[in-house]
């Protein structure tokens, strides 16, 4: 949190400070008032993504990873949600921005790929017309030129016979092709920031590999920033430069992918790593699951939200885990942030956890 806060805030909209990362999220809090109470979906979340970089946001269902990224696109109904903090996309403040500003950003500067391509494509319109619509919203071109552009994009994402398939309806595409079409649509305006929300969860492994390769190739080609939201550490390991681990709406650990996967310092990350089976590693060793279930965001636990499930809470004196929220503080590595009361998390990991978790 600290390294993003000490930067001077550029006030002028749409003018990017030379140094500022493309996406800056600061102290983002998203709450949804419901009949049952206030759902604290995201609390004081801060992160930045530079152009050409990939940030992976990982967490279980209900950890706030999707809610936080939908806020970047301004997709939350202002009447039904409370948002505070700041989100700047290329220098433009998104929170509180009017519809006109949002429409300019959405699809043009920032694009999103959703999890289920069948529900995020309109079943009544052809793939081509949906891409054309997205393109013509932001570019003053003829329908014919826009259609050529759609064919070009479909070709670029690897759809065979794009000049014919452009006239197909979504149901005529397979799952992997639909996701490609979604990617084509999101990239048609050359967005600087691509948010991929579980883009491969509904796909088979071989198709997942194709889609991840495609996203990486396109990122290298266009130099855009990518936010990859997933529950799958495997996807993170394949694609992300930096990882942000979310739990109960908060960032609990952040750092480079290598550090997070090999030297994590937050017990929840240890738990995530211990929970996954791997295609290498010793199959005879049992998995090390996290006990219990993720908390309700209506009524999150006091102190550290993870403390009811944390096997290491006894190591902190005075039951502080249950009473005080740990600050997001520097870990062992320069870019490493973690939210835990354990003073010697790194040492505990090396001594007790590593053997179990990194089989």
């Amino acid at each position: 949190m600290t390294e993003t806060l000490d930067k001077t805030e550029p006030k002028a909209p749409s003018h990017r400070d030379g140094d500022e990362p493309y996406l800056v999220v600061e102290d983002l809090t998203v709450q949804f008032p419901t009949y049952d109470g206030l759902v604290q979906a995201v609390t004081e979340l801060s992160y930045t993504v530079k152009l050409g970089q990939t940030l992976g946001i990982v967490g279980e269902s209900g950890s706030g990873k999707s809610v936080s990224s939908m806020a970047v696109l301004g997709l939350h109904d202002v009447k039904r949600s409370r948002m505070t903090g700041s989100i700047r996309v290329g220098g433009t403040e998104v929170i509180g921005a009017n519809d006109q500003v949002m429409r300019r950003i959405r699809g043009n500067d920032v694009a999103m790929i959703f999890q289920d391509p069948l529900t995020s494509l309109h079943p009544f319109y052809t793939i081509g017309s949906q891409i054309v619509e997205a393109y013509r919203l932001h570019n003053d071109v003829s329908k014919k030129a826009a259609k050529l552009r759609a064919v070009e994009m479909l070709d670029r994402v690897g759809i065979p016979q794009p000049d014919r398939r452009v006239n197909d309806y979504p149901h005529q595409f397979s799952g992997g092709m639909r996701q490609r079409a979604m990617i084509a649509m999101s990239l048609v305006n050359n967005p600087q920031l691509l948010i991929a929300d579980e883009p491969t969860t509904a796909l088979d492994v071989t198709v997942q590999a194709q889609i991840l390769d495609l996203i990486q190739d396109l990122q290298r080609e266009y130099g855009s920033a990518v936010v990859m939201i997933t529950h799958d550490l495997g996807v993170i390991a394949e694609i992300a430069d930096e990882v942000l681990v979310m739990y109960a709406g908060r960032c609990v650990e952040r750092g480079t992918t290598k550090h997070i996967l090999t030297h994590p310092e937050m017990p929840y990350t240890w738990g995530l790593l211990g929970s996954i089976a791997d295609v290498s590693g010793d199959p005879e060793k049992p998995l090390v699951p996290i006990p219990g279930t993720p908390p309700s965001l209506l009524n999150p636990p006091t102190g550290c939200a993870f403390h009811p499930r944390c096997p290491h809470r006894d190591k902190v004196e005075g039951n502080r885990c249950a009473t005080d929220l740990p600050e997001l503080r520097k870990g062992r590595f320069p870019d490493h942030l973690m939210r835990c009361h354990l003073d010697d998390a790194a040492a505990i990991f090396e001594a007790e956890v590593k053997e179990e978790v990194l089989r």
């Binding site: 088979d204 996807v235 992918t257 089976a277 791997d278 590693g281």
Partner: protein
């Protein structure tokens, strides 16, 4: 990890379940008044495998490869088109539902989606007790006690007997489903994607539970999943399916360390490997082009040939049979081992910082 023989020594006699050339074709009917059959979805097309008692066989493949259909055929939820299934030596594929009844006790099913596989209007007690009531294995007054015992076994509070499924989380619901499948002391459980609907941290809980149950009660599993890592973790023997056929069968070491079939190799190389990626960078992927062909009109010869980089003319003409190669069975004209996955404890130096590390600031 030493190579285990395909058949465990204690069960080298007759296998618990022996499936031979099992076929299931779903007819496609024309619309209109006279509904003629205009095609066949060849969901399962000549599948053979054996499960020995107390053993887990993993069935892996992508969606649409027929693994779930196979599971439903084994439990006789679908009628097989042809082929034989022998359970403890008895042919069960042609039995009437009345004759099937005693075998249903022995073969139970765990479903994928814990939200749709439990009746929301029934209490946990009714759900878990139902198999015992139907099969009259336990006197009525003892059902409650047995249900509570089962709930305890799967790690739920026995006091929750009177609760409804909506009061439980996904992982807990899956435990209820597991308790139900244990109610009749089955010899074989067909687990159809038992953890894929659950969160990562909960998946591990359920997998560990299934492992413990298997050790404790000696239940055999037909474990159907698309997640190669979980299958490797749970099953000593694995069968890989592609488009209604089994393309490779072998034990864990044979499938994961020296896969022979190109499809197995591609599948393995596509599976993300967290720990390897973290320490050694990404491995080279075998890129498969395109999608799985339609099972309505599968390719001639070898069904994988349309996506295979080794395919030659013979692949389109002749269908490769499952051949024995060094203890495993492979259906490929050009089978040869490729090492795709680096198995742990083979030295992976941490200094090797990998591709992505180099382009980091």
């Amino acid at each position: 990890m030493t190579a285990e023989p395909l058949a465990t020594p204690q069960s080298s006699g007759s296998p618990l379940l022996e499936v031979n050339d099992l076929v299931k074709h779903f007819p496609i009917k024309s619309s209109g008044l006279i509904r003629r059959t205009i095609g066949q979805v060849q969901a399962v097309d000549g599948v053979s495998f054996t499960v020995h008692s107390g053993e887990a066989l993993g069935l892996v493949g992508e969606s649409g490869c027929g693994k779930t259909t196979t599971g439903r055929l084994v439990t006789r939820l679908y009628e097989p088109t042809s082929g034989s299934m022998k359970f403890e030596g008895h042919e069960i594929s042609t039995l009437s539902s009345r004759q099937m009844l005693p075998y249903r006790r022995e073969i139970q099913l765990i479903f994928q989606d814990p939200y749709s596989s439990l009746n929301p209007r029934h209490t946990v007690g009714t759900i878990v007790g139902a198999p015992m009531v139907v099969h009259k294995t336990v006197p009525k007054d003892k059902v409650k006690g047995r249900v509570q015992e089962l709930l305890e076994i799967v790690g739920l509070n026995p006091e929750h007997y009177n609760r409804y499924p909506n009061e439980f989380s996904g992982g807990q619901r899956q435990r209820i489903g597991i308790a139900r499948s244990l109610a009749l002391n089955p010899k074989l459980i067909v687990a159809d994607e038992p953890v894929s609907a659950l969160d990562v941290s909960i998946q591990a809980q359920v997998i560990n539970l299934l492992r413990d149950l298997q050790k404790e009660f000696g239940i055999a599993f037909l474990f159907i999943a698309h997640d190669l890592a979980i299958v490797r973790h749970f099953c000593p023997n694995i069968a890989v399916m592609y488009l209604g056929k089994i393309v490779e069968v072998g034990n864990r070491a044979q499938i994961y360390e020296t896969p022979h079939h190109p499809y197995t190799q591609a599948l393995l190389s596509a599976a993300p490997d967290v720990k390897q990626a973290a320490i050694g960078g990404r491995r080279e992927r075998i890129r498969l082009e395109g999608d799985v062909p339609s099972p309505i009109n599968p390719p001639s010869g070898c069904r994988f040939r349309t996506r295979c980089w080794k395919a030659q003319d013979v692949c389109a003409k002749e269908e490769p049979p499952l051949m024995q190669i060094g203890g495993r069975q492979v259906a490929c004209h050009f089978a040869e081992p490729i090492r795709v996955v680096t198995i742990a404890d083979s030295t992976a130096p941490e200094a090797n910082s990998g591709r992505r590390e180099s382009d980091r600031v």
